[in-house]
């Protein structure tokens, strides 16, 4: 242990601890800007500087390790003045349109500026003027608000091993950009949106579809159906002041109804349908010597990742559409027929924890009824903004249930929202179908948790089924490399693009670096999902009455010809460059 004092307070910490971490243990907060726990500690922004006795200059506490007898001062006049100057210099080349900025009141730069008492016009001079990158349907890149902290660069490179953005040029000209500054749609960006979630300012944000959705709701000729994904209900409450990890499903449904949707359904239902289709696809592959391991296909950024970086593994991907796309397809075929509405007059809005879903809806082979399965995708954040804009008092709403007939989902569908959930839901069903009996113990705990890669072997009907679960694309890459080299002999692999799964998706409420330091945000949201699952009555996909009705009266059986036409899709090789 190393002994030191911080602001006169004695503390012992393990060797290798940084001053920043040591200070937090001593109950002293040092402000940071470029630092993000576990992902970015480069000492670039100089906001976290402190005085160390004997050192000539102030040191960056996020990268400076403690040493025996060290005396640290975190709040001297010199330190505070230095931080203030640093932030004022950053502000001198920052587009200060704070009033209309999407991150206003949730901006780490704004908060620092206020806390340090900065004058945003102290330094005036030349400022950069960048065009927005609006080339993709999911993301806006606005370098005028970028402060060059490089958190997005670290997320893209280290979480996701995609590495399509980085710092280009030098000095005042430095900017975050792509290879040869191409538009984002011309490089292998996978649309995961993790860069948005780590951005301290408004430089990265989703492409907003709120106005389009309101236009559809206000159009009396349109029948608007809203559906929401499993992970949205355990996160949207955060936008209205609920603690991280609160399931506010009832209020969320009530809010969507208050917004004016004709029907509000639960994507848990098509998660169940996915289990039937994907489960039977897996059984077919095992029985008929099909391509193994089978890879899940729910996560659209993962699909795009395979298409760019592992096209030779496309045959391993399940051909199942994602639950979002399946829902749109079921609404515009089965439900449209049942209601006698022309699918062209239907508008399906899905609310997703995800930015890649905005890309997915425009993919080819996603139009079961001849019109796109999904019309608009709102992120969790957009739904929250829309609710606020429309004056709906979320916390005061009385809880409501999803509508019938498509609003029933099992909690096996619900756990899709967290890493390991698809695997567990599939195992619950596959085991009962193959062994032809009902089990009481439904937990497959080995595949749960926020570790990057999880492996397990289950004996099902006398066969040892080897499974793996990965979240975060750098972990997925490790697994794919093992498959390619022949080192791995799994049967079934679940991949979610975002670390921890959809609970930590690129469309979820943004939590600041300070909050990420002290809380396990994906873990808390996942806990809310598993808590709900534990007490749920319907915990198996194949027992969902809606799913049963769909097979009895519409699709016939899983993987039938009709199911293939409506619920399955194709993939394409994409360029790596």
């Amino acid at each position: 242990m190393i002994n030191l004092t911080i602001n006169g307070k004695a503390i012992s910490v393990p060797e290798g601890t940084t001053i920043l971490e040591a200070a937090r243990k001593a109950g002293i907060n040092i402000p940071t800007l470029c630092y993000l726990k576990d992902i970015n500690s480069i000492g670039a922004c100089r906001v976290c500087v402190v005085e160390v006795k004997g050192a000539r200059n102030l040191v960056a506490s996020c990268v400076y390790p403690v040493s025996e007898g060290m005396e640290v001062i975190t709040n001297s006049k010199r330190v505070i003045e230095s931080r203030k100057t640093t932030v004022e210099l950053i502000l001198s080349d920052h587009e200060k349109k704070c009033l209309s900025c999407i991150r206003s009141q949730n901006c780490e730069l704004q908060k620092l500026s206020k806390e340090l008492g900065c004058d945003e016009e102290h330094y005036q001079g030349e400022s950069n003027n960048f065009n927005l990158d609006l080339s993709t349907p999911y993301l806006v890149r606005d370098n005028n608000k970028c402060i060059l902290c490089r958190r997005c660069v670290a997320a893209c490179r280290d979480y996701q091993s995609v590495s399509v953005i980085g710092a280009n040029s030098r000095g005042f000209d430095t900017h975050i950009g792509t290879f040869f500054n191409k538009d984002l749609d011309a490089v292998p960006c996978v649309a995961c949106g993790q860069c948005i979630n780590v951005c301290p300012t408004g430089a990265l944000r989703e492409r907003d579809e709120i106005d389009d959705v309101m236009d559809a709701i206000n159009d009396p000729k349109k029948y608007v159906v809203m559906v929401s994904a499993p992970a949205v209900r355990v996160a949207i409450g955060e936008e209205f002041g609920y603690p991280v990890g609160t399931n506010t499903q009832g209020k969320m449904v009530a809010a969507m109804k208050a917004l004016g949707a004709d029907d509000v359904f639960d994507v848990n239902m098509t998660a169940d349908l996915t289990i039937m289709e994907e489960g039977f696809e897996f059984l077919n592959r095992v029985k008929n010597g099909g391509v193994l391991p089978m890879l899940t296909s729910c996560s659209p950024a993962w699909i795009k990742f395979v298409e760019h970086f592992y096209p030779e593994l496309i045959p391993n991907l399940s051909t199942c559409k994602s639950p979002q796309q399946m829902f749109g397809a079921v609404i515009k075929t089965y439900y449209a027929e049942k209601k006698g509405i022309d699918p062209k007059d239907m508008v399906v809005v899905s609310v997703m924890p995800c930015t890649a879903k905005k890309f997915e809806k425009g993919r080819p082979n996603q139009s079961a009824a001849g019109v796109p399965d999904i019309d608009y995708v709102l992120t969790t954040r957009e739904l929250a903004r829309m609710i606020k804009r429309e004056g709906i008092m979320y916390r005061e709403l009385e809880d409501k249930d999803f509508d019938t007939p498509l609003g029933i989902g099992s909690s096996a569908g619900l756990i899709f929202g967290t890493s390991g959930g698809v695997m567990e839901a599939a195992l619950r069903t596959v085991r009962e179908v193959l062994e032809n009996k009902s089990f009481d113990k439904l937990d497959f705990k080995e595949v749960r948790g926020i570790e990057g890669i999880k492996e397990a072997t289950y004996n099902i009907a006398g066969i040892d089924v080897k499974v793996a679960v990965a979240s975060g694309l750098s972990n997925a890459r490790k697994l794919m490399d093992k498959i390619k080299s022949g080192e791995a002999d799994y049967h079934f692999i679940e991949i979610m693009s975002c670390p921890g799964g959809c609970v930590n998706g690129g469309g979820q409420p943004i939590r600041t670096a300070e909050e990420r330091n002290t809380m396990n945000i994906p873990g808390l949201r996942a806990k809310a999902i598993y808590d709900t699952d534990k007490s749920a009555k319907l915990r198996k996909s194949h027992e969902n009455p809606v799913v049963k009705e769909l097979y009895e009266n519409y699709f016939g059986e899983p993987n039938s010809h009709k199911a293939h036409e409506i619920l399955h899709t194709k993939y394409q090789k994409r360029e790596k460059v």
Partner: protein
Amino acid sequence: MSKIKLTKVPFSGTAKQEKELRDKLATIKKMDGALMPALQAAQDIYGYLPAEVQQIISEELDISLEEIFGVATFYSQFSLNPKGNIEISICMGTACYVKGSGEVLDKFKEILKIDAGDCTADGKYGLVATRCIGCCGLAPVLTVNDKVYGKVTVSDVEKIIEENS
């Protein structure tokens, strides 16, 4: 977005150049911090670092294209644009400038239809605005490859291009 000036000259690398680069990279990639020497080797071979060459480096070193581009645009020793076979460098030092080298440069730009720092689409002429080259007595001065022209006027420009065609 970009403040990075990019050439319109099409890439004309040969199979021989590619082999030379890949051979060199086979050794370089075993080193720690291989990217800088890799970029230097590539620039030695091609004279500049076009996208196609950065792609070869990316494949061989297993480093993402953006990371390579970031380094290539950070250091002024690396160029994204080719040099012309005939490099015309006009001195923009104080003495030359007050004696009218700015107008001389403008005339070259007008005739060759390129900016300073560019080269013509056929790769023949390159135009550079240089810092003081140390012979202010000849101001305004320019060099064409190794040949020096002194006391140049706007009306000499056409003749200089012709002489070096």
